[in-house]
């Protein structure tokens, strides 16, 4: 599978994080929440207005905006 943007995933899809492209504060926050390369995630839902998106990582639910998901490259697992 080729790397795609986290935004492209639909609820129910699982993926592996490959790379975080965000710099500075956003990058730090994303990493502090446990979103680091090698982590498995599952998209579990989207807000009523389709943004932000809710992810399941290691026993927690993390929400982030689509614009922030753009900085995260993933590989879909099937």
């Amino acid at each position: 599978m080729s790397p795609i943007n986290l935004r492209m995933l639909v609820p129910g899809q699982k993926a592996n994080i490959l790379k975080i492209n965000a710099m500075g504060e956003l990058g730090r926050r994303i990493r502090d929440m446990g979103l680091v390369p090698g982590t498995q995630l599952e998209v579990i839902g989207k807000a009523p207005l389709r943004d932000p998106v809710a992810l399941r990582i290691e026993g927690t639910t993390i929400a982030l905006r689509n614009s922030e998901a753009d900085h995260i490259m993933v590989e879909v697992m099937e």
């Binding site: 975080i20 710099m23 504060e25 956003l26 990058g27 730090r28 926050r29 994303i30 990493r31 502090d32 929440m33 446990g34 979103l35 680091v36 390369p37 579990i44 839902g45 807000a47 009523p48 207005l49 389709r50 943004d51 932000p52 809710a54 399941r56 290691e58 026993g59 927690t60 639910t61 993390i62 929400a63 982030l64 905006r65 922030e68």
Partner: protein, 785 residues
Amino acid sequence: MSQNCPHCGRNDAICAQFTEEQKKNGIRIALAGNPNCGKTTAFNFYTGSRQHVGNYPGVTVEKKEGWAQHPEHKVLMVDLPGTYSLTAYSMEEIVTREVLAPADEAARPRAVIDIIDSATLERSLLLAVQIRELGLPVVLACNMMDEARKVGMIIDLERLGKRFGARACATVARSGEGLPEALAVAIEEAQKPCEALTISYGPDLDPVLLEMSALIEERGILTDRYPARWTAVKILEGDSAVRAQVEDRDAEAARIMAAKRAELTAHLSATHDTTPDAVISDYRYGYINSVLKDGVIRKDNTRSRLAISDAIDKVLTHMLLGPVCMLGVLYFMFWATFELGSYPQGWVEDFFTFLGEMLAVAIPEGLLQSLVVDGIIGGVGGVLSFVPLIMIMFVFVSFLEDSGYMARMAYMLDRVMRLFGLHGSSVMPFIIAGGIAGGCAIPGVIATRTMRSEKEKMATMLTLPLMNCGAKIPVFLMLTAAFFAEDQAAIMFCITLSGWAAALIAARILRSTILRGESTPFVMELPPYRLPTLRSVVLHTWERGWMYIKKAGTVILTISVVLWAALTFPTLSDEQAAPYEQRLELIDTQLSAVNMEAESLKQRLEVLEKDSTPEASAERGEGLAKAKELYSRAIELEEEKSAVQNDLASAETRNTVGGRFGLFVEPFFAPLGFDWRTDVALLAGVAAKEAVLSTMGTAYSIGEVDPEEAESLGQRLAADPGWSKTTALALMLFVLIYSPCFVTLVVLKNEAGGWRWLFFSMVFNTGLAYCVAYIGTLVGRVLWG
């Protein structure tokens, strides 16, 4: 004499046994952890009611300390803000660092109990790693063990402790299980020498870190506070706070290290397309993974503790059901607050009325009585009567926060709020401030504390006073009843909507001008739904409520006195009052004449009643007719008297500093159709919005106006040729938007951190109100001529 510790090279005092002085003053133990890990519950368990809540100097991050029970030692527990990391991005993180490595050595905690959500061990250890890097002994309190066990998760605590270099305990903060043991271990660890954790940051960073640490050691930069390697890591991370501290001590070293960092950054970017802070984070997680590998955690992957939470989320954040449920929750919250709150609110009001009456009897009539009864009791009582409402509202807010629903509201509304430069978490403060008619801006401003993003927080704080708060409602009710009686409900609804529109648009303006900047990342955790404990809700509510009472209580007392003086002095001179006094005297003479005549007539009638002759009965008939006449004459005179008294009150108000101010600004507000009486009422409204109606009542000389029965004032205004639908509309818009009341302003000053925000808020809101009201006037003229 202080010596250096053989293990960590730092001041001996950190690593030795407790001194007598420390034992006397209490051994400081810090409580750290991620948000939503049960840290507050643990803190409450340890300290019970022996806690002190305040603010860290200069910031609005809550500072909580309390005495914990321990069989041997006096323990001072310090509750740190919930954080995921120890960078310098949020206030909470900076504060946590300040507490863990303070400038004052004596204030340094001797050990840290890190409360860890067992289900998210990996992420939680990130904070523990950073605390260990700072050189403090850590106890890993693996919390929520009951939940973990329930889903078949087993943590090998011994192995975890050995690998991590810190002891681990199993705890359940809700029941207190394991917490005393964790404290005992912390006290034990605090008496042992400890060494800062050193982890490898890989072949690119390690040599640079080595060079930098050597330089820091050699020059002794901040080595009294931080381990040298920690400072070096922070410099590479690009931590602005540490960089500034280093620059302060040794500008040359700071330059050398900045150059090294720049070189490394360029190298990493060219070779690995990455940055130093990303590498540091990767290695920290790498270290944690190596700690957790082979068998520290065993879990049953078929069972998830989030199963129930996920099921609830399927409904509560559903595309259609989600928003519907949210509206339902909000509506219920407000309905309950005002339904339940009206009773205690009534009791508080009754109490202050009673107190006022008592004092009115005790203190002789005059200025002192007026100051105490009208000024102090009236002002302070008016504000304190809101306390029950605010307390009930806080119960709900605490419940929503602790249950995890608040995070879902932010999640659902973030997309909308972002359009206006705000954040999902701006919703709650807006709602508390009056998003559904009847809130209060004071707790609203305080509620912005939960927001982690500075610019959005400021924008939220500055615009939420535009909401339709409970104190503005009587003004709208009176004006709509007088001028728009046919569609009162619709107009009231439109006002609430106008509040939202004004606040959101104002936020957009602020975020595009003085608070310009990128939107802060949203990235947040949606914690699993939990039923909050009664204890935590009560404690939470009490903390916030008490803060409101304290702030409101001290400030409003001063304001009440000042406002009272402004609307009392200068009093009318004898000559100015003379025409009114003469008329009053004249009326009094006439009244007593009528009364005397009535008295003699009454005696005559009593005599006649016993007489049954036809003459007597004829005279009796005449007498009765006369009595009727006298009665209506007396009523006429009484009415005239109160009219003159009201005229006198109006003249008195006009003569005071406040009244003169009204006259002074009259030309300025004339385009909106306001005269001096409205202007002075608006001025009083800055002290407390409740004062708008009562001051208008005095100025329009109709005597006291009870805000709940303001029909008389409404009728008076409707009959006034100077008033029209257009004026009413302009006034409603103006009251909705103009300067927040004084208590809000003071709370805003504290929360925003500076007087300039207080003045900004007054000027900006009043300016905006003027513009909007003027537009309202133009629209009104088109609609109603």
